[in-house]
């Protein structure tokens, strides 16, 4: 994996492999942007976190089979996030403003 000026991460963290991946990305990125509701607040991907005990029991064999994390995490639960673009779908206006600002920050003389 190469170095990143800006790494855009979408989606929540549902498995240990994803946790490792996002940590690696964070270590190689100057800026990390969490894009969309799943990355920023962990929903709707993390909807199983609020299942009843009975519901959790009924899906447990699948969590085990695929080695998913006990709770779905948002990106900031795992790494430091520099910018958040909320929304489902993400807001194009906020995205463009954020990217503009980041580029100015990283390349102030251009």
């Amino acid at each position: 994996m190469d170095e990143f000026d800006i790494a855009f991460v979408e989606g929540a963290i549902a498995g240990p492999d994803q946790e490792e991946k996002v940590k690696e990305i964070r270590s190689k990125a100057k800026k990390l942007v969490a894009v969309g509701a799943c990355a920023v607040v962990g929903l709707p991907a993390g909807q199983r976190n609020s299942f009843t005990e009975a519901q959790k029991e009924s899906i447990d064999f699948l969590i085990t089979r695929f080695g998913a994390l006990p709770k779905v995490l948002k990106v900031s639960d795992v790494v430091k996030v520099d910018v958040e673009i909320p929304g489902c779908p993400m807001s194009p206006e906020i995205f463009l403003k954020a990217v503009d600002a980041l580029v100015k920050e990283l390349r102030p003389n251009q």
Partner: protein, 423 residues
Amino acid sequence: MEHLTKIEGDASVSIHAEDGKVTEVKFGITDYKRFFTEAMKGKPIAAIPSHLARICGTCSNAHIMAAIEACENALDIQPTKQTEILRSLTMHGLIIRDHALHLYLFSMPDLFGKDAFLDFDESDETQHQMLHDGFDIKAAGNYLATLIAGRSVHAMYPVIGGFLHFPSKEGIDEAVQKLESVREAVLRLIKVFQDAPNHFDRKTHYMALIADEGFGYINGKIKTSRGETFTEGEYRGLLEHTVMLQSQASAYKYKGESYLVGALARINIAKDNLHPKTKESAKEALALFPSTDIFHNNLAQAIEILHSVDESLDLLKNNTFVPEPIIKKPSREAIGIGVVEAPRGTLYHKVVLGADGIIKEGEVIVPTGQNQINIEEDIGRLVEKLLAEGLAEDKIPMEIEKLIRAYDPCMSCGAHFLKVNWI
């Protein structure tokens, strides 16, 4: 080391080959399960379409249409004629944008030996044209979807019982202008995929929801390549659930055999129902169907873009849209079924509604799940074919990726994963 360049989904393939024979292929969708059908339970019916829309960030509006159909079926709501036209336009906007995304951004780089669409060479006339065509067509599809449904992803205007907002005359005029201006680009796209060099022939069964009249994506009967016809209500009974342990998505068989859904299935079964202008302009390409070449799924999608352009232009020019109230009916204990053709194939939603208006349970069967077994079997046969032709082992993963992309699974970028175990 491969890295994912596009942002949809994840898949894995492991292949065991011995002496030119493939002994095992395992294709699995590795996106972690999000348990939408479990999460539906306990939600009020009004929340279901926007909830199930979030299953996918590209064919979202198809999920909205299927969910609305299922919920209206449960509540015994018949949409008005205008609502049906607006829903058709929503689907056409989706088909134009989503097929263009797949064809230009996912499949076309392979044809030009590029990793990504944005790597295309602007100084090369053809690649320059393709770059502009791709974004123009996507923009036209986006514009139509935004005008009619509010957004091209997770649309807000379509609801159970009707629409919350209606297109303005100015908006319609602009949509017409945009769609007319991209028609030439679509013809160029059809030519590109008509002439594309990759072919993989394999006989399989097909299934699609086919309209009683015309070529649409919302209403109709399920037709199979065996010549059978079923109602939407009978659809679930046709599908035999099959567990693929390595995959987080369910797989399905029909009468014990794998089958294909998607543009190739639709064009194979119902090409005669396409818009007359489409049939005229794409005559040469259409002569290749019915086809058993999986790469013709790409060509079929290009033809469908043209049909959606032609059909939308008719619908926009020949109708005036007026505000209509949302149809409401009291909750009741009922089962509702909705079946639509999403861009990638037949999509099925079922809701079980309680008298209190709360959903007790539901079911969703997505097209990519239905194509999984075919994809796995095709990979095995392709690898054997390539080994027999003497292709270098390190070139094989790329060929497998091209095949998987032709299916347009809802995780195309996941195709940059390949791990081939050679024994």
